[in-house]
Symmetry: C2
Subunit: 249 residues, 2 copies
């Protein structure tokens, strides 16, 4: 059996009680270590807490030759851990399909995802979010402006946009870096992004949330990772009041 278990947002205690029971009863524990990260813990700490070895998994293994893992899941109780809620990443969905194609029983244990947590942290209403997007670090000869297209389309529909920030190995994009990239794209198109909401360390005891113009947000130190960004559409009164109270608007 192969069970996908979400670890939630920040540290080892963000897993559900249900997930923890599954992990402690499992024969083999794998930790997906490339689509996201729990900034408030480490593989070593998880091993100590579960009382069992935790094997890290890298993208190439999962996407190209997960045969060993699948062979194990045919005989044993295997759990696949990941930050957030499983399957938000397509690479997990692909693995579940490969398992099912071999006749392996699969299950999912859900956990908190940043995609809903931003609502509580920012007060921006869930039903007002449009399509989300990801903002990659620019690379030589590659600086896609798709994220701006998504943001501008959502703004024209009066919808908020959740912008996932890139992770490359140990390099985590910060909110000010993201705002600088988006401002550069917007300037080239003579478009304007009136307001940003930056969030750091969602799920921790001290999440940090700040709302403001590009200029304001770029001057703020958001501290350690992970960071995420929301581009709000025109605010409802209650959303504005919430950002004033909890995000320094």
């Amino acid at each position: 059996m192969l069970t996908f278990i979400g670890l939630g947002l920040f540290d080892k205690t963000d897993v559900s009680e249900k997930g923890l029971r599954h992990i402690r009863a499992a024969d083999c524990i794998y930790l997906e270590s490339y689509t996201s990260r729990l900034a408030g813990t480490s593989r070593e700490e998880l091993e100590a807490w579960y009382g069992k070895p935790v094997t890290p998994l890298f993208r190439e293994y999962v996407e190209q030759h997960p045969d060993e893992l699948l062979a194990e899941a045919q005989e044993k109780d295997v759990v696949f851990l990941c930050a957030g809620d499983p399957m938000v990443s397509t690479t997990h969905a692909d693995l579940r399909m490969r398992a099912a194609a071999r006749g392996i029983r699969t299950a999912i244990v859900h956990a908190a995802s940043i995609s809903s947590a931003v609502c509580g942290l920012s007060g921006l209403q869930n039903y007002r979010f449009g399509k989300s997007c990801s903002l990659p670090f620019p690379q030589k000869n590659w600086f896609p402006t798709t994220p701006l297209d998504v943001i501008l389309q959502n703004l024209s529909l009066r919808l908020h946009t959740l912008v996932y920030l890139d992770i490359q190995g140990e390099r985590f994009m910060t909110v000010p870096e993201a705002v600088a990239l988006l401002e550069q794209m917007a300037a080239e198109r003579q478009a304007q992004i009136p307001l940003y909401v930056g969030i750091a360390r969602a799920g921790s005891d001290e999440p940090f949330v700040r709302a403001g113009t590009a200029e304001t947000i770029q001057s703020v130190d958001f501290g350690p990772p992970l960071h995420i960004l929301v581009i709000p559409a025109e605010l409802h009164d209650m959303e504005r009041e919430y950002l004033e109270m909890f995000a320094g608007l």
Copy 2:
């Protein structure tokens, strides 16, 4: 202090380890009982598990005179429990603002939300969801077609729509009921909804997921609550394959 704690999707073990520690250390425990429900447990079972009384809260109390709760939170450690992830409902955001206005410290402990869980259950990709909507039970002289507007707009943008189904006391809208309502609205506008994905008991050990046309889905018994519906836009290959494997498409 007032801490908003999400209980996740289905039963008492869907709360995070962090949330459970807060609950067991709290002076007073309140359970919000009107925006959603944990179908796999009861207030009595939660009381037995936490080893403490759990006071149910109804909409009128929270929205109109939460003074007693706020007075308690000024002196003691009060937790406010709700199904899913807190603050997705505006009524929670309002309570947090009232607390902060009185100088009460507040915090949020996140949990799984149906808004991300649908991705894993259906294989529909997170970044392809547009604005979501709620489908109310029709009432005398009141049959709003806003949900259809949202669905049609999303379809035209090639985006999926998550449709929250109404709860009225002990009456839970089922997937077939929801499909019948949407088909009636669509017929009046000569619009077509090509595909539905119905989900029941997300977060339980036996979630039930079925994809198909209106005719197919209306003939399926989805079993006990809660139910939720997704209207997918044109499917990507991988999404189609996933629905074929896990949702009988």
